[in-house]
Symmetry: C2
Subunit: 306 residues, 2 copies
């Protein structure tokens, strides 16, 4: 694999940025990767574990001379960071991001970027419930999707170059427009996360079942929910606040459907329940066949090498 | 490990029964294990793969002379099976089950059992999304909980013996009463399963996002839901129909809580969302500390040896 960008700057050093660094190094996709994080503790940790070739004490220093700048901060912080780095951006460079919501990022970041800088929003569909600079690993993006959301008036060459970077990090790449992205993600990720958070909260609230019992006897259903509900609170707060309309629409549909199933339980309509559960099982099979998961017990999740 | 029951009969040969067979064999807990399944195809498969020392063509034959009879059929079928085997049960034997609901099983099975037969309902909290005679494996119960629900007027010695069997199969054993069991499971398993089924159904219904997109871009949240929603339809239909009250109560609490979070999203109350998500993350940590899960990517699920 050859160098795609001479210098890459990672702004924010959490799970995604640290995984990008290790994936870039694995394939030799950049000559130098600089990094910046707002918290001095995170910068210290990054220096200690060798995360980034150079950790800078300001975002402006990190992006200075960079050919690609990747915004890896929570969606709600993207606008402020863009404003901060804008004067230091190299003419002709590309700015991208890894946020889970695209319309809000475009609205927040776009206006700050100077003429001559390419903006190619992106969203890698990969993650774990861990966060922070020590949580990343080189294989996180292998065989996962990364969605690029090019601006309608953007330069196709800048998009192609970013596509090669993501492919070099192991991802499959697709393109879609921002609003469709936000709806698809509301269905496949944002609403499921809110639902998992809710169910975990309900279990905790219930007076007649102790936390200890919930924890001890957490059967597979609840265990999977708690994993989802352990994801980074700041990231998810921002996702729900910035993808509000699509998330609320999906939750409305969800509630409607849940009421139908509750009524079937209440009235003892076993045929309806059986037909419904048979259909959802078929959907799972479709996911297996599409290769986005495996039937193996670790569900194709990649293991961080020690 | 020494023999705990001379002869064990498994009625129904799905995931749990087949895992019990391999776990019993692994530790030498029974001299002979017989098996019966209603479907001739299942019996043929069991014979082909060596599941059970002897596969019988009737439930009465399978339980003849057995010291322990384990009902491993869906909760809704337990009563009919108990009626069928009752005349063939050996005096002094123990009947148990592995159903996910306990009050309904006690009501359905108890009246059929003759005097002098011990009834000790049980529920191993272990499973995968796979079903059928070929889905079992010896390590399914290792370090998982099995809940025993002894009858108030039952023989403590029969309960102790069953406890030793489950411990011999690798499980940790606790006891609780039937109604409390059903409430705890409604929280930790039944309601989460219904919610997962619902979300997968909503995704499928949504016209503006294609099934193909949902499948391709199923991020971690939705992937975990589809795994849950792929569980056996008959088993889960029966669970919801027989644990109706507790499940509907938990779903009511869930809906109330979900509406609160939806309102926080709609009104942009980021502080409320952040505090909520921080609390659910702490609950997850409690589960890890209680040893019911691991932080490893396979979440402690056991791998079936090839």
């Amino acid at each position: 694999m050859s160098v795609i960008y001479n210098r890459v700057a990672l702004i924010g050093l959490g799970l995604i940025a640290s995984s990008m660094f290790w994936a870039i190094k694995r394939a030799g996709l950049a000559a130098e990767v600089t990094g910046y994080a707002r918290s001095p503790e995170t910068r210290d940790t990054a220096r200690r574990i060798g995360l980034c070739d150079r950790v800078c004490d300001s975002a402006a220093d990190a992006v200075d001379g960079a050919d690609l700048v990747v915004l890896c901060v929570p969606v709600g912080a993207m606008g402020a960071v863009a404003q901060d780095i804008a004067p230091a951006l190299k003419p002709g460079c590309t700015v991208t991001d890894v946020g889970s919501v695209k319309r809000a990022v475009i609205d927040a970041v776009g206006p700050h970027l100077p003429q001559g800088v390419h903006f190619v929003p992106a969203h890698p569909l990969a993650g774990t419930e861990h966060s922070g600079p020590e949580s990343g690993f080189a294989t996180l993006f292998d065989n996962r999707w990364c969605l690029l959301v090019p601006m309608p008036d953007g330069d196709p060459a800048a998009t192609d170059r970013l596509r090669h970077l993501w492919e070099g990090m192991g991802a499959n790449v697709d393109e879609m427009d921002a609003d469709h992205h936000d709806l698809v993600l509301a269905v496949t990720s944002h609403a499921p996360h809110l639902i998992a958070y809710t169910m975990v909260g309900v279990a905790d609230d219930l007076g007649r079942v102790t936390d200890n019992e919930v924890i001890k006897y957490s059967a597979s259903g609840f265990r999977d929910f708690t994993r989802i509900a352990a994801s980074d609170p700041t990231m998810w707060r921002d996702v729900f606040l910035t993808n509000k309309d699509a998330t609320l629409e999906i939750l409305g549909r969800f509630t409607e459907e849940l009421f139908t199933l509750q009524r079937a339980i209440r009235t003892g309509d076993g045929d309806m329940l059986h037909a419904y559960f048979t259909r959802t099982r078929a959907i799972r099979r479709g996911i297996l066949e599409a290769g986005q998961d495996t039937s193996a017990p670790d569900f194709g999740r990649v293991v961080k090498p020690d």
